[in-house]
Subunit: 334 residues, 2 copies
DNA sequence: ACTACTAATGCTCGTTTTGAGTATTATAAA
DNA sequence: TTTATAATACTCAAAACGAGCATTAGTAGT
């Protein structure tokens, strides 16, 4: 039968939280803008700039987001895109905690900053404080062998009493899929999948916060990255996944660059995001032949060697090519 | 200064609408599940299955979505993913209409159906009823030359009084970018961009519904596709964009296939989604060498020619490859 | 001024992937 | 048996890619 319009009193209404993962790169280190927020009972937690959406004051969701960020940090950013809408701040948070229910919408913003920009509040933190296992800048991070994989394997071996016997993929398979153990390839885009697996295994602090009944069995501790308030670390993981995927088919990398840059600076920025593994000459061939950049005619000296030509982003490329981006192949090996 | 927690009475709360664009393919025609809904004042409009999210009854957003779809159509689907959260049902709807404010979350579901499946309510409609300019199955659709592009070009020429003089991209550029006029390539993924441009130009009926002051100047009429209730056509456009993009790097196409299928049936399904332009022999080489499928050993006779081997989806491929999908190049020409 | 060092840039080359054919084979229908 | 139709097999050139060597134009030190 057909659904009757709900009367005014029955409209189920919820609060909407807007959250911004604002990413930048500071001398080859990928960073995110963090504010400290006082959560209930515990001390100040790392938090993304965020605030509730109030339709009376904000004409659109994005305007609301920008005004919260401005108020909390003083930053005005350019590029922003919506990431995902999460239905519960901690996925396993118990029902009695959720009244009123909060739905959080995560956004990704990209911005170029240099030391001249002053934040009123908040500070830039490396991504890898929150996701140390994602830091492949100096090769495969040792935390994988010493901590992450052993704990995950132990979890995969645990008897699973309350779960359906015919799960589509079993725990070991999922560990292999997310972390590329035993011959599987490491996929730098699976940041969210890895975080969610660690959450499900009860290893990240947020899992113990949301499900205290598992705290003893699985004490994770700080070696699983710095925790964040509510579901903010999950939003940040989503943001990192999205940037890593998106620079391959959209020219969003230039949102992180100054107006003029050398090709090597561009490569270093890409590598800060994806992990370092690009062949310098081929990278240059790639971005030039794709028409992503054009020389400004200027050069930058004091590079330590031969002066480097300066380039700028060719905005017209979006008119010419269907999927302009730094088209590095998925799943290259390092 | 820091944001104080809002008191219970001040919590700005909104209604959340859950909307499902459920896609399938019925003999090489891409279809979406439509229900008829009575909007205020006008008659029954085409609508996506949808309903409000009520946290008391639905543990997660997705569970809420599934239960509305089941109630309204009797269908249980498998694969679903979130698309986007829209802050206003019609983007330019006037403020006084939005109380309480509705935020709609769009979902994409993919399902295989055959004639044996019976819907309790609702019916399958071709995508192209709503987006005739997207129908490239018989070459470039004539509606582009006869109707869409002339009207858009007229709009691009219009004096733009109230707009900022330094718009980053002007109207003509945007028409060219979205519709590939004058040498630009047609990008089959830009379904949403094209719909939003037509909305902004006041050509689709929804624009006139939301902004009656433009109705006279821009009467669009039914040649711009069948309109839908609220922002449902925008959600459908988002869904089509997403499927068209996603089958290229994730094996979601198999959600639309039966358990066993021939390679040509698979190709026809891909072409139903993307437009028909694939080279048969190369398509076969592509999916086989990517390990996406494996032969079942059976053959299908009465194909009209030589019997075709039957294949099934190799689920293991997601463990092996970082981005398994039908990796057709972006922006191939037909 | 000359030399050593460094990083940018230019170029080559073998391999892989892709696009576009032609040729062959196994059925159903006439 | 013939014919039509599609499935399947194979070929080949062009383009893209990965990896390396070679050259150049600066800086810093003598």
């Amino acid at each position: 039968m057909r659904r009757e319009p709900l009367s005014r009193k029955d409209v189920p209404s919820v609060e909407i939280g807007l959250n911004a993962a604002i990413a930048s790169v500071h001398n080859d280190e990928p960073v995110v803008l963090i504010v400290k927020e006082t959560a209930d009972s515990v001390g100040a937690s790392d938090s993304l700039p965020s605030g509730p959406f109030s339709p009376r004051q904000h004409r659109t969701l994005e305007i609301g987001l920008r005004s919260w960020v401005r108020e909390q940090t003083g930053l005005d950013f350019g590029y922003v895109e919506q990431l995902y809408t999460f239905g519960d701040r901690g996925r396993h948070a118990r029902a009695e905690d959720r009244d009123p229910h909060v739905v959080s919408i995560g956004y990704l913003a990209l911005t170029h900053t240099d030391s001249a920009d002053d934040l009123q509040r908040g500070s830039w933190h490396s991504w890898y404080e929150y996701f140390p296992w994602e830091d492949w800048r100096r090769g495969r991070p040792s935390i994988l062998e010493t901590t992450v994989l052993p704990r995950l394997k132990a979890w995969a071996q645990m008897p699973q009493m309350h779960e359906a016997p015919s799960r589509p993929i079993d725990r070991s398979e999922r560990v292999r899929m997310c972390f590329g153990a035993e011959g599987g390839a490491w996929d730098e885009e699976k940041v969210l999948d890895r975080y969610e697996l660690l959450y499900e295994a009860g290893l990240v602090d947020e899992a113990q916060r949301d499900r205290p009944e598992f705290a003893v069995a699985n004490s994770g501790g700080p070696q699983f990255g710095t925790p964040m308030i509510f579901d903010h670390r999950r939003i940040l993981a989503t943001a990192i996944s999205r940037v890593r995927a998106k620079i391959k088919y959209r020219p969003v990398i230039f949102e992180l660059m100054p107006q003029e840059f050398t090709l090597y600076e561009l490569q270093k920025t890409v590598e800060a995001i994806l992990g370092p593994h690009l062949h310098k000459q081929n990278f240059r061939r790639l971005v030039e032949s794709a028409g992503l950049v054009e020389p400004t005619g200027q050069v930058k000296t004091r590079t330590g060697g031969r002066p480097a030509k300066l380039f700028r982003f060719r905005r017209e490329v979006v008119l010419e090519r269907p999927a302009p981006g730094v088209r590095v192949k998925p799943g290259r090996q390092l």
